[in-house]
Amino acid sequence: MTARRPAHKPAGWPSVKRRTRMARPSEGSPTVFLVLRRMRAPLIVLILIFAISVFGLTLIPGRDAAGQPMRMGFFDAFYFMSYTATTIGYGEIPHPFTGAQRLWVTATIYLTVIGWAYAIGSLLTLIRDRAFREALARRRFTATVKRLREPFLLVVGYGQTGQLLGHALDALGRRMVVIDNMPEHIDTLDIDLYYSDIPGLVADAANPHTLGVAGLEHPACEGVVALTDNDEVNLTVAMTAALIRPGLPVIARTVSPAIEHRMHAFGSPTVVNPFDRYGDHLRLALHAPSAYLMMSWLVREEGAEMPVPGRPPASGRWVVCGFGRFGHKLTEDLRADGHEVTVIDLHPDPEHGLTLIEGDAVEPSVLAEADLRTASGFVAGTDNDATNLSLVAAARKTNPSLFIGARQNRPANAPLFAAMEIDWLLVPAEMAAREIYARLSTPMLWHFLQQMPELGEDWAAETLDRMRAHCGSHLGALWKVTLSEHEAPSLQPWLHAGILLGDLMRSPHERDRRLDAVPLMLKRDGETVLGPADDVMLEAGDQLLLVGRTWSRRALLDTMSNRVVAEYVLSGRDVPAGWLWQRVSRRIPTEVSGGDSPGRSSDDR
């Protein structure tokens, strides 16, 4: 399935960056036509009944007040039928009816009532009709998306992961448009509490036109996130986005390495594989518990409590139950670290260097074969929560000191897994949502998290201590500043000589105090410095990633945008805010001037 390309385009891949327009299917017809088409039969019946009744009334002989024979005119007949058929009933006009007329009118009354009932009934059925409601919903959705002016993310798939991510992004004030093929998932948009109105559509995302309707071609669309349970659909979404809007950021979730490989063939999507991450994190926790702790804290939302440092994973022999996609990834990671791994699965594929046990792990005899008494770690990684829970219970019974890992598939089972006190729990939906959130909320944070483990455990522990000292046990704001003309105008006079990071971090209230913020990363011309120290010289154009309290963020903004504040923070000089007073007191803030030193005017004091 590919996006339709206009026929006049030459075949092959044009090397220039182009945008392909999607031809919209003829869904532009207004809903009123659907109503009209459905109402054809009832309306014709109604017209016929009226025509016959009126016609009959004009034919049947009547009598006027004087007893002279006369016939009803068309106008009188139509008037009479109109109020009779609608059951208003003004009586017999213009003259009392004769027997023959009454006989005819009796028949027409029943006829017209049936006609109206049929017409109104059809209209009501139509309003309740599924197809009609879908057409209405689609129309409303299309109009809402078209009206969006703020940048928005196109989220495809709104299951567990989507909803977790949706709530987090909504709290950040990001706009979204949601597509899902399950009506229940779209209904949560109405039921759950969101700050903004999120347009949602029940539709098949594998159809490129659906993405077009959802605003893939909208200029304000800033990215596509594919989170459906179906890897094929995610692949199609990533492909469609890459073909229709080349260069648009795409984040796709998959648990299959093959699909991941295919996704990379189209543009450069960011692929998130929660199964892969679990093993990576486990290894990180094995080598550097503090680094892992910092990472799992930073990917949470603002205000999140510091995660409790869990039991460090044990070194030694590991037993993994379930050798599916998750099991494969995990054993790969464990073996890369030099751990011996025993795998239990119903139908394991033989693999060199692995101890394989064939059988159902739930059976005590099979589990006994794995000899849990000598193992140090145990992972219940099947796709069935009940199985995983019972496996954990059985393993604990055999060897209470085991390090237990488990995979939780359904969110409803969270309390059960919590009660089991699993040492290392994988919730694929949560893991994917956290990672995507970290990537979307502060892209710099993601670079930081990727590079941070290389600095080792000691550095991580020290940074974590600093974070705790400044933010307390709740995660503060994470933000990025760019020392550009636009974002930091008041620092410009100082920047060409360089500013010490330690000076910038001084508080505008009392410069001997430090802001409650920790600089995590410095980015300059594509090169990064992790955890920059206070003696680092900042230059124009540098980007800083900081974590700290909200008031520090405001204070830093003050320093960066107010010349007087910057003067105080950087040099300690108090300068009047107004132009006149600056002249009168001859205390003029440092100007932007090529060769002069920043402190030129300080002798005016």
């Binding site: 009209l36 088409r37 109402m39 106008f75």
Partner: protein, 128 residues
């Protein structure tokens, strides 16, 4: 042969023929223009209009437009007739008859366009 097409063609054509029947004759002579014929023309025109509802093709849209024009003209003619026979003191004078008939003449033109469209559609889409 589809029954739908038969019914559709029947009503479109009948609307035009009834309209012509009413229209033909000395424009100011009430004796030559039967009110029953006008009534039948209005009813058949309305049915023809409803039959054209909901066709999303270009030709379907023009079809509907011509029918709506014919309806408008015929209903205007009926209103003039009602005014002449029920409200005006003078009754069906030559002037009133002339305006009723000329309005129906406008409807006749619209109906002829409708018939022309029907013929065009038949010759163009003969395979369907």
């Amino acid at each position: 042969m589809s029954l739908e097409k038969v019914i559709f063609g029947f009503f479109v054509l009948l609307a035009a023929t009834l309209n012509l029947g009413f229209f033909i004759g000395d424009i100011s002579n009430p004796a030559l223009h039967n009110e029953y014929e006008l009534f039948a023309a209005v009813v058949v025109n309305l049915i023809a209009t409803v039959l054209k509802f909901g066709d999303r093709t270009q030709i379907g849209a023009v079809h509907l437009a011509t029918s709506l024009v014919a309806d408008l003209q015929l209903i205007a003619a009926t209103l003039v007739w009602v005014y002449a026979t029920q409200i005006s003191e003078a009754g069906m004078t030559a002037e009133a008859t002339a305006s009723v008939v000329s309005l129906s003449g406008g409807a006749l033109l619209a109906n002829l366009v409708s018939v022309a469209l029907l013929v065009i559609e038949t010759t163009t889409f003969h395979r369907r």
